[in-house]
Structures are given as structure tokens and as C-alpha cells.
């Protein structure tokens, strides 16, 4: 949804043929750095996200936590996950991690998407959904290792964080970054953010007593455009199910690299078959029109009661 004048496209979902303008202009990879160790869980980023993207409000429910809702939603792309982390040695931490799309270098959603142009990756690293091209198949949902894309059963489209591609395309930082009061969120080039993050992790290890502090930028998906500084890089799961080694489900890799070419061959054989059919059977003969059948839309899912 960004300004295509300044955002160069690098990958397009299910797109046959070349990408116009690919590689003609070098762009720095952008990156959002989330220093979890200085996040106070104030939710300013949640509000900024809802407000900037003009999302409708929804009814939330008490769930024995400060966390706004159990998971992100089609109209709630940015959620702080609160976790009480207690250890046998008596140490206790209240972990608050801002959860949103990670904008993977190798995006599982894009790989899984069968709709041409529904998901694009810009050369600055932002992975963006183009709802006008979305067919609502939800393959992207299962392709994502972070459980990010969320389906709206009314519009039959899938939504997620755009890393504010509209703002970034105009030279601004994402709304969440703008709103962060403690400065635990930073935005810049991937190189700069990595440098900042590694320095902070080193400070945590050397000065603050967090021996396992480190930077989360998983190479299993080629790195991400959203990176975390964690007190304990060895246990990312305790920060609200952040996977230690996120992977795109094997099925999609197989689908993309094996079945898709096979399918293409199948389609070509089909075309050959059609031509042969015409050659041997002749042109189409008119048939009577069948009656139009109206299908009721499925009922909306029942809302959870308080």
C-alpha cells in the first residue's frame, strides 16, 4: 500500500515473468529495532498503530493479564505480549515484547501466496499485503512462522502490519516508532540497527548482568527487518512464543520449488490437450444456461463473551 514511486519492488507473490524496474535502484534495507529490555509495555505503539491505520475498535475481554488481547487481529497489528517469567532461583521478570510482523527477508507468506500481486516485498525489506489482489485463501496464514497474517471473514481478505510502508515511502518512521516514549523502538537501516542492537546487548552482558543477552535476527528465514534485543537470547520462547528458529513450513517450500513447476508443466500439457481437442473434436457447441444459485455467506464467528 506504499508509494510505489519511492518503494522499489523486489518480490511479488505468484507473479509470472519479470518484475518491472527490479534492481534498477539500490535501496538500503530498513529495520525496526525493539529493545525489549527497555520496553515498559505502555501500549503507545498499539494505539499509534490503530490510529494511524484507522482501524475500527473492537470489544476486548479480561484475560487475567495486562495484554490487550490474546493475539494480533486483522484490525490490531501491533500487540505487546506480557509474560511473567519466574525461575527456581527466585528471580522474576515481567517480560513485555512488542509483537507484530517481522518482515522476513524470506517471507513465508509471500512464498505461500498463490495470488499474483497480493503480497509484495520491497527492496528495502518491507513485506506488504495488497488487499485488492488478495483472494482470501489464507495460505499466507499457514506460511508465516510468527502467526501474523489475520483473516477478516467479512471482507475475505488478510491483513497485517505494513511497517507503515506509506509513511516509510514518504520518508517518515513507522507510527509505532514515533509514539514510543522510552525510546525502546528505533528505526533506520538494517546495518545501523544491528550495530545499535549489538552494542546494547553487549552493555546488558557486560554491565547489567544479563549474561545471555543477544539480538534476535533469525537467519533461518534470512534475517528479519524487525529485530529484538532480548535479555536472554537462548530462550526467545518465553517472550510470548517467539520461535528460536522460525521456519517456513516445508509444504510451502516444496510447493514453491517442486509442485509449482510441476503444475506449470501440467498446465502446458493441458493447453496442448485443449489444442488437440479442438483439432480432433472441433469448436464449442451452444448449451442451455443453468439457473443461478445464490449461496448464503457463512455466519460471522460468535464473539467471545466476557
Amino acid at each position: 500500500m506504499g508509494d510505489r514511486g519511492t518503494l522499489r519492488i523486489q518480490q511479488i507473490s505468484a507473479h509470472p515473468g519479470p518484475i518491472a524496474g527490479e534492481g534498477t535502484q539500490r535501496q538500503d534495507k530498513v529495520c525496526k529495532l525493539i529493545d525489549v529490555t527497555t520496553c515498559i509495555g505502555c501500549k503507545a505503539c498499539e494505539v499509534a498503530c490503530v490510529e494511524w491505520n484507522d482501524m475500527p475498535f473492537q470489544t476486548t475481554h479480561f484475560d487475567n493479564t495486562y495484554q490487550t488481547m490474546p493475539d494480533t487481529d486483522w484490525n490490531y497489528w501491533n500487540l505487546i505480549k506480557f509474560n511473567e517469567d519466574e525461575h527456581d532461583n527466585g528471580s522474576f521478570a515481567w517480560l513485555m515484547r512488542k509483537h507484530q510482523c517481522m518482515h522476513c527477508a524470506d517471507p513465508g507468506c509471500l512464498r505461500a501466496c498463490p495470488a499474483d500481486g497480493a503480497i509484495v516485498q520491497y527492496s528495502n525489506g518491507i513485506v506488504d499485503f495488497q488487499q485488492q489482489n488478495c483472494i482470501g485463501c489464507q495460505f499466507c496464514v499457514s506460511g508465516c512462522p510468527f502467526n501474523i497474517p489475520k483473516y477478516n471473514s467479512e471482507t475475505k481478505k488478510v491483513y497485517k502490519c505494513t511497517l507503515c510502508s506509506d509513511r516509510v515511502g514518504a520518508g517518515l518512521e513507522p507510527a509505532c516508532i514515533k509514539s514510543c516514549p522510552t525510546g525502546c523502538l528505533h528505526f533506520g537501516t538494517k546495518d545501523d540497527m544491528k550495530f545499535l542492537a549489538e552494542n546494547r546487548a553487549k552493555q546488558l552482558r557486560d554491565v547489567s548482568g544479563f549474561k545471555n543477552a543477544g539480538v534476535y535476527d533469525p537467519d533461518t528465514i534470512g534475517g528479519t527487518s524487525v529485530i529484538y534485543v532480548l535479555h536472554d537470547i537462548t530462550k526467545p520462547e518465553k517472550y510470548g512464543n517467539l520461535p528460536a528458529s522460525p521456519r517456513i513450513p516445508l509444504a510451502f517450500t516444496i510447493w514453491k520449488s517442486v509442485f509449482k513447476p510441476l503444475g506449470l508443466i501440467g498446465a502446458m500439457l493441458g493447453f496442448v490437450g485443449v489444442v488437440m481437442h479442438y483439432v480432433f473434436e472441433g469448436p464449442l457447441r451452444t448449451q442451455p444456461t443453468p439457473p443461478v444459485k445464490v449461496i448464503d455467506p457463512p455466519p460471522p464467528p460468535p464473539g467471545r463473551e466476557n
Binding site: 527497555t38 475498535f57 479480561f62 487475567n64 522510552t182
Partner: protein, 884 residues
């Protein structure tokens, strides 16, 4: 704050207690994070719960609500025992060396000297310094057993009458600081004919700090009882953790280091106790002991809970002060002269020391204020209209107003910008009080619980018919719908512009108030009245009288010259009508006017200083001298002379605030020096220029505090145990309970076995945002935070509906079962604490949708107040819990 928000970034050590800034001041908390990130500053958080702030701490201690003085007293004990104090600072910049009268007694039994059991007040005559000058070393030379009475060389203090040093001075010595929360002597006002004792003019002192009557030795003795074992039993904090925290905080003064700085940060978790002011005193004493006041990254820093609460205080939104913390007259103040004599302090210091005694300018501030109030009607001949000021005949603090309304004495109430029913303790009492009033005027942006008190849950249709209070709802304008200033915790006056015009028929507060005033004045003009002058003589010179512009009001508060004159000191010439550049120009002859002397300099001939947006910070200390305007005199850190040693050099050259410039023979700096600009260091002038002594008060003499010159630990009014220091004097002896049928106080024996506290959330703002869908989405319904262990014992699961009951009433909400509150051992007994946010009432999005039980949290809280600041005890009361 003595310092400011940004200045927190300069600190090396933070003690955050009685506040949860990450929760309630997330934007300001940025600077705490900066200190951590850029200076490797350490953070100690002490709180009844593991809070959002605690999540950022290097060390978190869970404390029993209300036991802060025990914890801090233990810290003083530790600092003294391990000599982790700033010696030079302590001796020269505080009253540690001053000698106290022989009759003064420490509260080993819970009572200081002078307690009258009948009136529950103190005769403070012995809470005073000795007269006598330099006594250094004399005690050691004279006697080898210094505990035996008054050593030689002393004035025989015990026999000196309290009022010896001139009762005509009439100085009560109360509330000298800017931040004074109100004269403790208010109760003593009301025309007491006995002239109060005053400070001696030549205070005796012992620089060796060895004299048994010197403040330092008394302090040592006072807190020697606060041993780690004792503090553990009271607070519930295990001893090893206590010692860790004490060691960490005092580590900034390890091995005589004077460079490092520590800050203490607090909020209403300290003020809202029946001994709240004394908790803050303890913090001030620690900071004085460690030499942290006046320094970048140091200070005692109150985080104000609303965007303009500092401004409200400065402008006398409190019953017992006038703008700029000038004192209110009482009925005994016959004329301006007697009043000024009473409230203007005389210097009281050792003869060979100097004291600026800045409050000696009180007459200039007061007369200029009267000129602002009454304009041309205020003349020398009529005492500048002094007779028209209201007199303080009794205590009109918040809780007392409502108590008086409940007792039928207060007949009408104007509520602007606050939700009276909800914010005070004991909501039911407040609702019942309003039922007895004749009228209620509420100016709000939503229909709130106050203007809807008559339809509170539980009031039947029949009962509703019997309520005869006439309620007027006035549609006000929200903060973004009007211009004006906010004064933040850092004392900055910052102008804001209108973002959107008020919708529909909503009106600006100043328009509503102006029109009410003009109407009342019209009635007085027509009909006369008992005492029309205060209204008829008031100055109202705005261009549009019914719509005063706030820029005009701000200029009036700054003050201007009323006649041509030349300032003697600077030679500057002023023409009548010119805006004044600062309070040093104010005069007591009626030729200047000023609405609040502290704000003088905020809107000068050079323009609106409070609208400035300069982002230059040459020193890198975050002073930003051209951003907005900070009172007093655009000074960002108060008492900053104390950041330098005796010779006038900064204790830490890397954080240079001010210093003595030998060539120029004056104090200069990156900040505005808070000092007499030309006082040479060898004059030994004290840096605490608002005290008549010129030094910081470790011991508070005379009447400044109602309940003791040193803080003593008392249990909250409702507490699970008797005071372990003195079981026979468990509570603050000067605190009184209220006596209406609704004022009930519970005990552990009656089954109120849990300590309960109340607080706010980041996601909500008081009782406003429950009307805003965005905030309601973030946290939809009220809850009670319950320790996991307690929940397990009681079979409560997260999300279960629970009922919390105090001696007053019930509160029903969902259980939030959490590991962030642990059971604690208080005097060897397992004790649980629970807590709840205060944001829900009986009107709002969730309330209207039937998603809450419509029980405001303050239904539970007791009506009992701190004797100095009159703040209710919202923190640390007793409840019981059950599953519904």
C-alpha cells in the same frame, strides 16, 4: 521536583519508591531509561507490587504498603553506620551540626516531646535550635561522657522560655520551602493569642558533629532503632535484600566519593498515607545526608499525577496558601503589617554564617499580589485591600469539605475539572454528602459520577425523589479545546494552543467562571450584601470581561510596573505598564503588581517566555534554557549552589551546573544560579536560600511539621500488626479519625486480613478515558490483582468474580491472579497484599454495557488524612476477599 524530568538522565542511581513512573509517567520515564542506557545508572524499585517500573529495575523489593518510613529509616541507619555520607555537604549545607534544645525528646515510645494527649497536638517549643554560636570541639574538651546533660559552654537551654527571642518576630517557621504543602499550624490558627516560639538568631553548632544534642547525633540515635532485623519484621522485605538495596543506593558515597549522584523519585504512593509528608521528609533527609540535593541527576523528585497539578498548586488550588506559596491570613491578622510580620521569616543562623533568607522578600510579593487582586482599589491607605482577602478560620482541605457537607455545613459545591465523588476516599460518604447539599454545579466534558450522584447504584426511585440537590451541568471544553499553560512536574510553564474548537454549546472554563463572577458582582452592586467589597473591589480589567483571554491572564500573573521607577540594584528603568522581567523587581510600595511572584519572568517585555521552543542545550545536561520557562527565574535545578564544594567548584566537573567565577566575582553557570549572585564562597552562605537558616533541614524545627521534627514510623490507620517500635503508639499520634456514622475503620481481628492498595494504569486516565473506546479496548473492565499463592489457597482462578470488602463497603471485579505479588512475612506472619486500579465508576462504556459491577474503588478507602498535607490514606488499608 527539585530537578526536572530531563535531568534524570544525568543520574547514576535511582531509588523509585511510592511511584510507578513507567506506568503513570511513561514519557518522563524515558529519561530514567536514558540514564540506564547512557550512564549505566542503577535502578532500585521498592513497591507493594512488581510493577511496570519494576520490570526495568536492577533490584526490586516488595514492601508492605505503608511501611516506607521504616525502610528509609533503615537506609539512614545504614548510611550513617557505614559512613556513606557527604561529609562536607552535611556539615556546611545542612543543619546536621546545629544543636537542638535540651528538652527535646526522641520518640522511643512513639511520641516526641511536647505531646498533649487531650488535643492530640504537639507543643513544639523544644523542637528548636539552641542559641549560642560556635560550640565546635567544646563538648569533647569539656567532658568525656557527653551524654551527661548539657556540657559546659552551652546556654542553659532547658531554662530558656520558648518565646525568649522576641515574640514580636512572630515567626512560625512553617512551610518555608517552595513545595510546602501547607502550614501545619492551620489547626493552631484561628486566633491563638499565644505568640509561637521562634528560631534563635545565633544558632549554636558543632562542626565536629560530636555534641550529643547536635542534629547529626540525634539523627543517629533516632534511626539506630531501625535495624535491618526490625525493618525486615515491619516491611516484610527479607534482610538480605534490604542490605543489598541499602548497599547499592549508598554505594555512590563509597570511600568518600563525591562525584556520583543519586536521585529519589516518588509520587502519590508516598503522599497518600496518614504520614505521607514524613515519608517525603525521610527521602529529603537521605538526599541531604548523601549530598544529592541541588545536583544534576539528584534531588527529591515528586512526579505530579496530572498535566497541570503543579500549576494548580503554584496558583493556590489549595485552601491554605495564596499564589506562590504565600500564606493565607488568619482571623488574628488585624492588618497587613501584623500579617507580614507573622509570615516574613527573620534570618536564624550561626552568626558567623550567612543566610540569604529569600522569604524576607515576602512583603514585596504580597503587596504586588494584592495589587493584582484589587488593582487601583488597592492603596497604601487601605492596606492594599488586605481586609478583603479571606481569612483561614479552620481546615478547608478536601476531605474536610466533604465531611462538612455530609454534616450539613457545606450547602453548595462547584466542581470544575474533577470528579468529586470518585476522587475522594469513601465514595458512599461523598454521594451521601451531595444528597444533603442545596446545589451542585459541575463543569465537565462528560456526564460524570459527581453530576449523576443521585442515580448512583443502590439509590431507589423513591429515594431519588427525596434528593433535593439542584444539579447544574455545564458543558466544558477539553484540554485540547483551549489554550493556556500546563506547568509540569519540572516546574516548566509551557503554553499550548487550541487544537480544535469546543464542540456545540461547550464553553471555555474561563468564560464560564468570568460570567459567573460578573453576574455575582452585578447582584452585589444591585442588592448590596454582608461584605460586598472582595467582589466589588476585585480587579477585572480584561479586554473582553466575559471572555478573558488566557494570554492576558498570564501577563497579569507575570506582573508589570504600575509607575515609572528605576531598579536600585541594576539601574534598569521601568515605565508604568511594562511587563516585569523577574521577581527581583517586585516592590512593596504598590508600584508593581504580580499575580504570582514565582511566575514573574514568564511573560516579559521580551515576549512570552512560556511559549519558547528553543532546542539548544549547550551544556549537554538537558537544561534547554530556551525551552518554555521554568520557575523560579527559569532555573532548572533548585538549590544548585549545593552542586559546588565550599570553594564554589562543582563536585563533578563533568556535570557543571553553576560555579563561582573568581574574576567576575559572581556565580555563573549553565543553569541560573539559585543563590545570591555575588556572595563569595568564604561568606559561607547556605545554599538553601528559602530556609531562614540557609541550610537544608535534616531536623525540622518548630511548627513546619505537625507530627515530628524527624520522621518516625507509624502504622497505617488500618494495619495488620501493632507498631513493632512502640505497640502502644501504633498510629501517627496527631492523626484524627472522622466521626460520622459512615466513618468506620477495620481491624485484622474483625477479619480484614489483607493489605490493600489502589493505583492507576497507563492505559486509562483517571475517570475520563472510560468514555473513550480506544482506552476501553486496551483495558476493558476493572480487576483486582491477587497473589497467585493466595488465589490458590482460596480457590480463585484468573477471571473469577471476586468481592473485596473493607469496613466501609464492597468492591466487585474480576480476579487477576499474578505472580507479581508475593506473600510476605510481616513480623513472622504470612501476610498478603492485593491491589486494584481506580478507573471505573458507574458511568462509562463498559459500565453502560453492563460489563462491570459499577463499584468505584474508593468505596473501600478510609477517610483519614495526613496531618501536614491533608492527603487521604488511599494506600495501605485493610480488606477481606471472597469469591462471588
Amino acid at each position: 521536583m527539585t530537578n526536572g524530568w530531563i535531568d534524570i538522565k544525568n543520574t547514576d542511581m535511582m531509588l523509585i519508591m511510592g511511584g510507578n513512573p513507567a506506568e503513570n509517567h511513561p514519557c518522563g520515564f524515558k529519561w530514567a531509561v536514558e540514564a540506564k542506557r547512557n550512564r549505566n545508572a542503577k535502578t532500585i524499585v521498592v513497591d507493594p507490587r512488581f510493577t511496570r517500573t519494576a520490570s526495568q529495575a536492577d533490584l526490586f523489593l516488595q514492601i508492605r504498603a505503608g511501611t516506607d518510613i521504616a525502610f528509609l529509616g533503615g537506609l539512614i541507619n545504614y548510611a550513617l553506620a557505614n559512613d556513606r555520607v557527604a561529609k562536607e555537604y552535611l556539615v556546611n549545607y545542612t543543619n546536621a551540626a546545629f544543636l537542638i534544645k535540651e528538652g527535646f525528646k526522641l520518640p522511643e515510645d512513639g511520641l516526641f516531646s511536647g505531646f498533649d494527649d487531650g488535643t492530640k497536638t504537639y507543643d513544639k517549643a523544644t523542637w528548636n535550635y539552641q542559641q549560642g554560636g560556635n560550640e565546635t570541639g567544646k563538648v569533647l574538651a569539656a567532658s568525656s561522657s557527653p551524654t551527661q546533660g548539657a556540657p559546659q559552654g552551652h546556654e542553659p537551654q532547658g531554662s530558656v522560655p520558648a518565646a525568649e527571642h522576641g515574640s514580636t518576630e512572630g515567626h512560625k517557621g512553617e512551610g518555608q520551602g517552595y513545595q510546602a504543602q501547607g502550614p501545619a499550624g492551620a489547626k493552631a490558627m484561628g486566633g491563638g493569642p499565644i505568640p509561637p516560639p521562634s528560631l534563635p538568631p545565633n544558632i549554636a553548632y558543632d562542626l565536629s558533629l560530636q555534641h550529643p544534642q547536635c542534629v547529626y547525633q540525634l539523627l543517629k540515635q533516632q534511626y539506630s532503632r531501625y535495624t535491618p532485623d526490625m525493618v525486615e519484621r515491619i516491611t516484610g522485605i527479607p534482610k538480605d535484600q534490604l542490605l543489598k538495596a541499602y548497599d547499592l543506593y549508598t554505594s555512590i558515597r563509597k570511600d568518600g566519593d563525591t562525584k556520583k549522584v543519586g536521585t529519589i523519585i516518588y509520587a502519590v504512593g508516598w503522599t497518600q498515607h496518614s504520614f505521607g509528608t514524613q515519608i517525603i521528609r525521610t527521602a529529603a533527609m537521605i538526599q541531604l545526608l548523601m549530598g544529592n540535593v541541588g545536583r544534576a541527576g539528584g534531588g527529591v523528585n515528586a512526579l505530579r499525577g496530572h498535566s497541570n497539578i503543579q500549576g494548580a498548586t503554584d496558583m493556590a488550588g489549595i485552601f491554605d496558601i495564596l499564589p506562590g506559596y504565600l500564606k493565607m491570613p488568619n482571623p488574628a491578622d488585624k492588618d497587613l503589617k501584623t500579617f507580614l510580620e507573622r509570615i516574613t521569616p527573620k534570618p536564624a543562623k550561626p552568626n558567623d554564617w550567612e543566610s540569604f533568607n529569600y522569604w524576607s522578600n515576602t512583603p514585596k510579593f504580597m503587596v504586588s499580589f494584592l495589587k493584582a487582586m484589587y488593582g487601583n482599589n488597592a492603596t497604601k491607605e487601605n492596606d492594599f485591600g488586605f481586609a478583603w482577602l479571606p481569612r483561614l478560620d479552620r481546615n478547608y482541605s478536601w476531605v474536610n469539605i466533604w465531611n462538612d457537607m455530609y454534616n450539613g455545613k457545606v450547602k453548595g459545591f462547584y466542581a470544575f475539572g474533577m470528579n468529586g465523588v470518585m476522587i475522594g476516599p469513601d465514595t458512599q460518604k461523598n454521594i451521601d454528602a451531595l444528597k444533603k447539599a442545596d446545589f451542585l454545579v459541575v463543569c465537565e466534558i462528560y456526564p460524570d459520577e459527581t453530576s449523576s450522584f443521585w442515580m448512583a447504584p443502590g439509590i431507589s426511585a423513591d429515594e431519588m425523589k427525596k434528593i433535593n440537590t439542584t444539579v447544574y451541568r455545564l458543558p466544558g471544553a477539553g484540554f485540547a479545546e483551549k489554550d493556556g499553560t500546563f506547568v509540569n512536574s519540572a516546574r516548566w510553564l509551557q503554553w499550548k494552543n487550541i487544537a480544535v474548537p469546543p464542540p456545540g454549546e461547550c464553553r471555555l472554563d474561563q468564560d464560564i467562571l468570568a460570567q459567573i463572577f460578573l453576574k455575582i458582582r452585578e447582584l452585589y452592586q444591585k442588592e448590596g450584601g454582608k461584605f460586598p467589597d472582595p467582589i466589588l473591589k476585585a480587579s477585572w480589567t480584561y479586554t473582553l470581561p466575559a471572555h478573558p483571554s488566557l494570554a492576558e491572564v498570564a501577563k497579569e500573573i507575570n506582573g508589570k510596573a504600575l509607575a515609572d521607577f528605576t531598579d536600585e540594584k541594576t539601574g534598569t528603568q521601568f515605565k508604568a505598564g511594562q511587563q516585569l522581567p523577574g521577581f527581583a523587581m517586585l516592590k512593596d510600595d504598590g508600584t508593581t503588581m504580580c499575580g504570582n511572584w514565582l511566575y514573574c519572568g514568564s511573560w516579559t517585555e521580551a515576549g512570552a517566555m512560556l511559549q519558547r521552543r528553543g532546542t539548544d542545550d549547550p551544556s549537554g545536561l538537558g537544561i534547554y534554557p530556551n525551552w518554555a520557562w521554568s520557575w523560579p527565574a527559569n532555573r532548572r535545578v533548585l538549590y544548585n549552589r549545593a552542586s559546588c564544594d565550599l570553594t564554589g567548584k562543582p563536585y563533578d566537573p563533568s556535570r557543571k551546573q553553576v560555579w563561582w567565577n573568581e574574576t567576575a566575582q559572581k556565580w555563573v553557570g549553565n543553569d541560573v544560579p539559585d543563590f545570591k549572585p555575588d556572595s563569595k564562597p568564604d561568606e559561607h552562605m547556605g545554599p538553601f536560600i528559602m530556609n531562614p537558616e540557609g541550610v537544608g533541614r535534616i531536623f525540622v524545627p518548630l511548627g513546619a511539621m505537625a507530627d515530628g521534627p524527624f520522621p518516625e514510623y507509624y502504622e497505617p490507620i488500618e494495619s495488620p500488626i501493632a507498631n513493632l517500635l512502640h505497640p502502644d503508639q501504633s498510629n501517627n499520634p496527631v492523626v484524627k479519625k472522622y466521626k460520622t456514622p459512615l466513618d468506620k475503620y477495620g481491624t485484622a481481628k474483625e477479619g480484614y486480613n489483607l493489605v490493600c492498595t489502589t493505583y492507576r494504569l497507563t492505559e486509562q486516565y483517571h475517570y475520563w478515558t472510560k468514555n473513550n473506546p480506544m482506552n476501553v479496548q486496551l483495558v476493558p473492565v476493572p480487576f483486582v490483582e491477587i497473589p497467585a499463592e493466595l488465589a490458590q489457597e482460596m480457590g480463585i482462578k484468573g477471571g473469577d468474580k471476586v468481592k473485596v470488602t473493607s469496613a466501609r463497603s464492597d468492591y466487585i471485579a474480576k480476579a487477576m491472579v499474578t505472580k507479581r505479588i508475593k506473600p510476605m512475612m510481616v513480623d513472622g506472619k504470612k501476610t498478603y497484599q492485593i491491589g486494584m486500579p481506580i478507573h471505573w465508576g458507574f458511568l462509562g462504556i463498559s459500565e453502560d454495557a453492563g460489563r462491570t459491577a459499577k463499584t468505584p474503588a474508593n468505596l473501600l478507602t478510609p477517610t483519614v488524612i495526613d496531618p501536614n498535607a491533608y492527603t487521604p490514606e488511599f494506600k495501605g488499608f485493610l480488606v477481606k476477599l471472597e469469591k462471588v
